[in-house]
């Protein structure tokens, strides 16, 4: 497929962190410095190797790239098949970027049992990368499930607050969903064996399963089984209750990885599996999912407004933002899906950065209550600036990354239904409200507590790991074209797959109702460009 990379680069990327994890186990527990450096070294090497993917990646090609396949359990039709397209590429890069940042942020925060800690993070990275690359349902499920174990221990051992409760709650919720997904996977597997619906073979290979042609009555049940697995992970309302607990009690690096990457596994699952495998059921469930997303957007935002703990506030903001991602995706049109994919990356960057900033505050003051901070701009000017940028990115200020994603999602939602798009806008406004109010309460104003007066500003290490995230916020905000170019062909392909079998009338109907040149009034010129630039790419 690719002449530049004859060697299995994807396998290398997936298993490098695992090798790092094993190497860590050989180092003496006392040698903390060596443990930190090895963990960071391995995660950085993984990141640089994953950057090589960009060199060989052909954005115009909708097929799988860098694909590898190797028979694994032939009796069952299981193969070790991995490959990427535009959707997974950016998520992989996000994961390989977030992991070294998370490791770097833990150098001073985690002082006990460091070996097991960094080994868990590297193990987690392997499983995350595997999820985004797996093209075999069996392989996917394995990566999806083993992710739970290191995360459970990260929360349970190195967390704070009610860490035991939160860890087991996280585990129970996610396992509940994923076991139903397993039933769905088995259902697909056996139905595909029936020549009436599928290829007549026993196979878990996704590319083969895409060819299935299931009646709607089967699709609905299978869609629901997968839906439980993914919706709990996203998490969508009403399955979100594990998230605030897990986020709040996890160590900083755990929260960053959880928000930055793990939640995307759920939304990625919808794009990769639910939409193409069950196209008609996806259309049938649009109203339900859109309404749940809207509830998530507004309800999450209101809950965020009410929080006293900064980390909990950020956690609820995730519920709201992921509602946007789901809304855009299930508008089932090109703008919505592209926006949704971009927003996954954006959310990973900005929420990851927010958790890092909260982690810095916690490390200094050992509290996360909003009431304990005031006027931090005076003792910590750099933190204040970083916080401001991140906050604006999160609420979608034009010029920063959040805006592009939210705008595309709203355009997509608008094409689907004006009322729904209008409701989602309430979420945007509330999002600005809770973030700005938070900013006002902790960063602005006079310092009122003596212990806050002597707070140290960010040190060099903290600045180093924040800067890449801040740069990305500006880059995506000002020049999103390269990112959108990578994902557009894959997104269009997904839209084509989800619309196969469903009468094209719906699309025609939509474009008749909202012609392309009738973009809503009051948007910037830059935004006006966006839909057109994508149509050109098609």
């Amino acid at each position: 497929m690719n002449t530049l990379f004859e060697f299995p680069i994807l396998s290398l990327i997936v298993f490098l962190p695992l090798v790092g994890c094993l190497v860590l186990l050989l180092i003496q527990q006392e040698n903390k410095k060596a443990i930190q450096q090895t963990a960071f070294g391995f995660s950085m090497v993984t990141f640089f190797v994953s950057l090589l993917l960009l060199l060989g990646f052909d954005a115009s090609n909708v097929n799988l790239q860098f694909a590898e396949t190797q028979s694994w359990i032939p009796t069952l039709g299981v193969s070790y098949s991995i490959g990427i397209d535009g959707i997974s590429l950016l998520l992989i890069l996000l994961a390989t970027l977030i992991t070294p940042i998370a490791i770097l942020s833990s150098f001073s925060a985690v002082t006990e049992k460091t070996k097991a800690y960094y080994a868990s993070i590297l193990f987690l990275e392997t499983s995350m990368l595997g999820v985004f690359m797996a093209m075999d349902l069996f392989l996917f499920y394995i990566f999806w499930e083993i992710m739970l174990v290191p995360m459970y221990f990260l929360i349970g051992i190195w967390g704070g607050g009610r860490r035991l409760y939160s860890a087991i709650k996280f585990f129970l919720f996610t396992l509940f969903g994923s076991l139903f997904m397993l039933l769905g996977i088995l259902g697909v597997y056996f139905l595909n064996h029936n020549p009436e619906y599928g290829t007549g073979e026993f196979t878990f290979n996704l590319i083969d399963l895409y060819k299935m042609n299931l009646p709607l009555s089967f699709q609905i049940w299978l869609f629901l089984a997968f839906f439980l697995g993914f919706a709990i992970k996203v998490p969508m309302f009403p399955f979100h209750t594990w998230l605030p607990d897990a986020h709040t009690d996890a160590p900083t690096a755990g929260s960053v990885i959880l928000a930055g990457v793990l939640l995307k596994m759920g939304t990625y699952g919808f794009v990769r599996f639910s939409l193409p495998l069950f196209p008609e059921a996806s259309h049938a469930f649009v109203p339900m999912i859109v309404i749940l997303s809207l509830i998530g957007i507004v309800y999450g935002a209101f809950l965020a407004l009410a929080q006293k703990d900064i980390k909990r506030l950020v956690a609820y903001s995730s519920v709201s933002h992921l509602g946007f991602v789901m809304l855009g995706m299930f508008a089932l049109n090109q703008h919505g899906l592209t926006g949704s994919l971009l927003q996954m990356i954006n959310h990973g960057i900005s929420t990851g950065a927010l958790f890092l900033l909260v982690g810095m505050l916690y490390e200094r003051r050992h509290t996360r209550l909003i009431a304990d901070f005031k006027g931090l701009a005076t003792p910590m000017p750099i933190l204040a600036v970083f916080f401001a940028i991140t906050m604006f990115s999160s609420i979608g200020l034009p010029g920063l990354n959040g805006f592009i994603g939210e705008f595309l999602i709203l355009v997509g939602a608008f094409q689907y239904n004006k009322v729904y798009a209008g409701t989602a806008v309430i979420g945007v406004i509330l999002g600005a409200a809770y973030m700005l109010w938070l900013f006002q309460r902790i960063i602005l104003g006079p310092v009122d507590k003596p212990e806050n007066k002597i707070l140290q500003d960010l040190n060099a290490r903290e600045i180093i790991y924040m800067v890449p995230l801040l740069l990305l916020m500006f880059w995506i905000g000002l020049y999103p074209k390269p990112f959108i170019e990578i994902m557009t062909p894959a997104a269009n392909n997904t839209i084509r797959m989800v619309n196969r079998g469903v009468a094209d009338q719906k699309q025609v109907h939509l474009s008749l109702e909202y012609p392309k040149d009738a973009v809503p009034i009051g948007k910037t010129a830059e935004a006006l460009d966006k839909p057109q630039s994508q149509t050109r790419l098609n």
Binding site: W72, I73, P74, T75, L76, K113, A116, Y141, I142, E145, I146, L148, V149, Y152, F153, G156, I157, R163, L164, A167, I168, F171, L172, L175, F176, L179, F180, L182, L183, L186, G187, Y189, F190
Partner: protein, 486 residues
């Protein structure tokens, strides 16, 4: 025509004969061994098992029907015999230090384990209800003594009495069921029974209530032995009171061997009346999974917890049996291997925590273990994942097949109930993991390690992981072995 050539028949029972001879030798050797060399008896028993295993290799691939069709040797029997031999071997490996701590270091201990193994190994070979009954009794009588082996411990004695009383009741039920089936079909041979039920005028429970009665008794008898609800009451008490390696041996060996006979009886012998018995087993399976898992949630004693976990697993096995498809049968074989490894592994944790005068069977006895002994802790996490059915472990492959069989056989609700039960089970297995990793160890924590136990733990944990990652060979063997049932 069946020829009465004893050579062929003797060959068929060679593995069992070796064990019987060695067990008798053990009793003879004991008085001549100095007290400090008694470990040798354990190694002698291991050698006997190895020798018996070697004779299984000789038998591999043979198809023999011996003693007028009482005993058959086929791949199905051989696979289960191998599983049971491994169970026995692991039991002895984890016993050697334990029985010294509990001061029951006697030749009878090993001898009875070997006798029980003989009974177990005959069970998957039985093609007649009479030889089935005899094998069952041979195994059970050895277990009655083994369970009560710590004769100065009231708990062990209580367990022995309980197991004995329920055991003889079970035997009565079984005999009654066999008699009724004989009255109905005119045969005790499973092959002839299969032919009878396949014929045109075969009775159904509607046309002949006697069949219903026989089936209910049969389910009850098997239910007692595999500890299925509502015949499970004895299990927690017996597992708690018995010497820990014997609890493991009972929950693995006894359950799996009876299960293999159950496959022969229900899936092979009674296949013609499937429509009559699946409903009964459906109810039993659902009750077993659900009650086992829910009762396990509140246990503070690790052995009782494992007893309920073992009950729950009986329910999962029944899911595979109910499907009565190739998938379901293969699932049972695969999950048997997984169950053997992970259950033995979990019981090993109790043995490790056991000290002089302290049974070490409370969950609290394990606190901080994962921090003090990370390798043991990680091994337990592996077993727990396997018991729940999370990849990449052997238990996942087993559950994948069991639930797959349910879905393929269109037992959708059974699959959903099974899945919900797996989620419940996460809570109590990880409650133990939480105690191990997230609570501080008491001052001067030490574990009762010994070389054989370390070897056993290494085998169990590495095999759990290896089967989870590379199950191909096991799957192929499983599919090949169950062909004789159809």
């Amino acid at each position: 025509m069946e020829s009465p050539v004893p050579l062929n028949a003797l060959f068929a029972i060679l593995p069992e004969s070796i064990l019987v001879i060695c067990a008798c030798l053990l009793f003879i050797i004991e008085p001549f061994l100095p007290k400090n060399r008694r470990d040798l008896m354990g190694y002698f028993a291991m050698a006997a098992l190895t020798l018996s295993g070697g004779s299984l290799v000789l038998l591999w691939g043979e198809n023999i029907s011996a003693f007028n069709g009482m005993i058959v040797i086929d791949l199905f029997a051989l696979v289960f015999k191998t599983i049971l031999l491994i169970t026995s071997g692991l039991t002895i490996l984890i016993s050697i230090r334990y029985i010294k701590i509990e001061k029951i270091h006697l030749a009878e201990y090993y001898g009875l384990i070997l006798f029980a193994t003989v009974g177990m190994m005959f069970l998957p070979s039985t093609s007649d209800l009479l030889s089935f009954y005899l094998s069952l009794e041979l195994m059970s009588i050895a277990f009655y003594i083994l369970v009560a082996f710590m004769r100065k411990d009231p708990k062990s004695l209580e367990a022995g009495i309980k197991y004995f009383l329920t055991g003889i009741l079970t035997s009565g039920l079984m005999l009654y069921a066999i008699a009724l089936l004989y009255g109905l079909t005119g045969t005790t041979h499973l092959g002839s029974m299969k032919a009878f039920f396949a014929s045109q005028n075969a009775p159904s429970i509607l046309s002949n209530p006697m069949l219903l009665f026989a089936l209910v008794l049969l389910v009850a008898g098997f239910g007692f032995k595999i500890a299925a609800v509502p015949f499970h009451m004895w299990a927690p008490d017996v597992y708690e009171g018995a010497p820990t390696p014997i609890s493991a041996f009972l929950s693995i060996g006894s359950k799996l061997s009876v299960l293999s006979a159950m496959l022969r009886v229900f899936v092979f012998g009674l296949s013609g009346s499937y429509d009559d018995w699946w409903q009964i087993l459906w109810v039993v399976a659902v009750l077993t999974m659900t009650l086992g898992n829910i009762a396990a949630l509140v246990q503070t004693n690790f052995k009782r917890l494992l007893a309920y976990s073992s009950i729950a697993h009986a329910g999962y096995f029944l899911v595979g049996l109910l499907a009565k498809s190739e998938y379901g049968m293969a699932a049972i074989v695969i999950h048997s291997v997984a169950y053997l490894l992970m259950t033995a592994g979990a019981f090993t944790m109790v043995i490790l925590a056991c000290k002089q005068g302290d049974r070490g069977d409370q969950i609290q006895d394990l606190r901080g273990l994962g921090q003090e002994y990370p390798i043991v802790g990680v091994a337990f996490v592996l077993f727990a994942l396997s018991l729940i059915g999370i990849p990449p472990t052997a238990g996942f492959i087993g559950k994948l097949f069991l639930f797959g069989a349910a879905i393929e056989g269109e037992f959708y609700w059974l699959a959903v109930i099974g899945v919900i039960n797996s989620v419940i089970s996460l809570y109590y297995y990880f409650k133990v993991a939480t105690v191990m990793f997230m609570e501080e160890a008491p001052q001067g924590m030490s574990l009762s390690f010994s070389m054989p136990l370390k070897v056993g733990l290494l085998i169990m944990s590495s095999a759990t992981l290896a089967i989870g990652l590379f199950p191909e060979l096991l799957i192929q063997t499983a599919f090949a072995s169950i062909q004789v049932l159809f």
